[in-house]
Subunit: 333 residues, 2 copies
């Protein structure tokens, strides 16, 4: 294993310290248990929005803590759910009296641990709403997951719910926007290579020099099919069809799109893939009205990409366009 680390056991602690040093204007790292909050306290009466999950998907989630997006993020060990006490302490730390929204990617450990934290916070008198993101159309059940996995649409959910909370929407309305994103948002990924979890020391899966994994999960979970490598055009046709037909879409629909790198994919290739997806949408009568192209939800050094799309409407677009100031996403400020 070749990695730019010291001891595998210290990766998370050292990376969190580096993140805090790099972005001290935006965020603050709390220890024992680990969670990341904004550098400033939650405005009284503002709904707080929290997410979390295993580390190794950066910038998700810590990179989305800041004005207009998350109030806190709970990083677990690499590809491992955070523990309930992380979410409990984070929830208590950022509650501004108007309740807290938990955005949870659909993995069994995450769902269970967020639920335990929500119960404990409820007993302490904090209103908590939870929204589970399960946008991955690749497979129905998977390693670590019952039902669909939660992947790229989490970025949309965090941006849109975060903007709703920031402008003063109440907890019910903020949660509704988050659920709406999940209802009309779909994703699918693929990988050229595996990733290596530092503590494991060897690739998560083996893959041939001419093979790819279509529908891969963000922890290297198996997808729909192991296949011989194809062209960018063919990948985008397959994945694009799987994503948009599942939304479902009709001619003239508008989309917010994430063309996402898995961590080890050059930006040049992501732009090339984005071009393919624009052409694909045009042929379907779909219009991309907003987009992100880059590494937003990654799988360590995995090479590959994913497509996420959410059907846009006026309300979602207003929230998408609202100012945001985080380490991973910034505009309007």
């Amino acid at each position: 294993m070749k990695k730019l680390i010291n001891a595998p056991d210290d990766v998370i602690e050292e990376a969190l310290t580096g993140m805090e040093l790099a972005h001290s204007d935006i965020l603050k790292v709390h220890r024992n248990p680990n969670f990341i909050t904004r550098s400033s306290k939650t405005r009284k009466g503002k709904v707080a929005v929290i997410s979390g999950g295993g580390s190794g998907h950066e910038p998700l989630h810590g990179g989305f803590v800041g004005l207009g997006m998350l109030d806190a993020a709970c990083p677990g060990a690499v590809f491992t759910s955070p523990t309930p006490d992380q979410m409990e302490e984070a929830t208590k730390a950022v509650d501004g009296g108007a309740g807290v929204l938990h955005i949870v990617k659909n993995y069994s450990g995450d769902v269970m641990n967020f639920e335990m934290a929500a119960d404990l916070c409820g007993e302490a008198g904090i209103s908590v709403e939870s929204v589970i993101i399960d946008d991955d159309v690749a497979v129905k059940d998977s390693l670590y997951t019952e039902g669909r996995r939660g992947v790229g649409c989490t970025v949309f959910a965090e941006k849109i719910a975060g903007a709703a909370a920031e402008r003063g929407d109440d907890l019910k309305k903020t949660a509704e926007f988050c659920r709406r994103v999940n209802e009309v948002g779909r994703s699918m990924g693929m990988a050229l290579t595996s990733c290596t979890v530092p503590s494991a020391g060897k690739p998560t899966f083996e893959i041939g020099a001419d093979e790819i994994e279509m529908g891969v999960g963000i922890h290297g979970e198996p997808g729909r099919e192991r296949m011989k490598q194809k062209t960018a055009h063919e990948y985008v046709q397959m994945m694009g069809e799987a994503v948009v037909s599942d939304i479902p879409y009709k001619n003239g629909d508008e989309l917010i799109v994430l063309l996402n790198g898995m961590g080890g994919t050059p930006l040049m290739e992501l732009y090339l893939l984005y071009n393919e997806f624009e052409q694909f949408c045009k042929a379907k009568g779909l219009k991309i009205v907003r987009r992100l192209v880059g590494n937003y939800i990654t799988s360590l050094e995995m090479q590959g990409f994913s497509i996420s799309a959410v059907k846009a409407d006026e309300k979602l677009l207003a929230l998408w366009d609202a100012p945001v100031h985080t380490a991973g996403l910034r505009w309007g400020i």
Copy 2:
């Protein structure tokens, strides 16, 4: 070779189209010859700032075209200098009557072709100043280069000269700021893996499973030493010492720092490395006052990182902090 492309010959054209589609609010791609300009014309009387070089280093340079940074960028084939007609046409397209600054990374082909373009534009009555960036302390001469290579400090040069031009500094002053950045800026990189140029179809260099290349160039050129792999701490000590001792520095100096990923390095590792560099600087009595952590000047899918540092002063910091709105760097807007 596994890549997310169609035909290797079409990579640049398709990636440029995707880039333009993704960022049509910021930039425009011109064809035959290829160059990228801002979507709006140069303000009359504003100095224009241009850079360019081989593709495969994205977001450099096209990702830095936009308000407060470059007026145009000229992308060559992958790892190949752009041709003189690209720079000539770009210069003519963005000249606002106040002259044009060429920011040139020190590679023989780039230097020669930018020089030819500058001569042709001079004959056409456009004032051109050229600044050559040669900040890589790793080796003196290299493949493709006489003297030191131009690497990460190019990002600082483009931001700072771009801000000077944007606020209305004249050509001489804008070029002076650019030269100043090069005088007090230094860089060094390392690689865990090679990259593969699409048209070559095989890795640029071979490297053992337990080896790294210390001082690697951004095209995979050899560095100072092929060595057995070490810890992140050891890499940062070696590279940090090489960079700051060459500036040179004195106790209490302030730095603007780029902790840069080579394209295939996870953000988690870049944050971990940034922590190491902060500790290194603290021990030397150096203070990091601004920083970027991420992929800013890459080598396709190479895994590795580089450290760039420029000695800050009040004037450079004011220019650094000025608003910027590009695909790769954005703040204040």
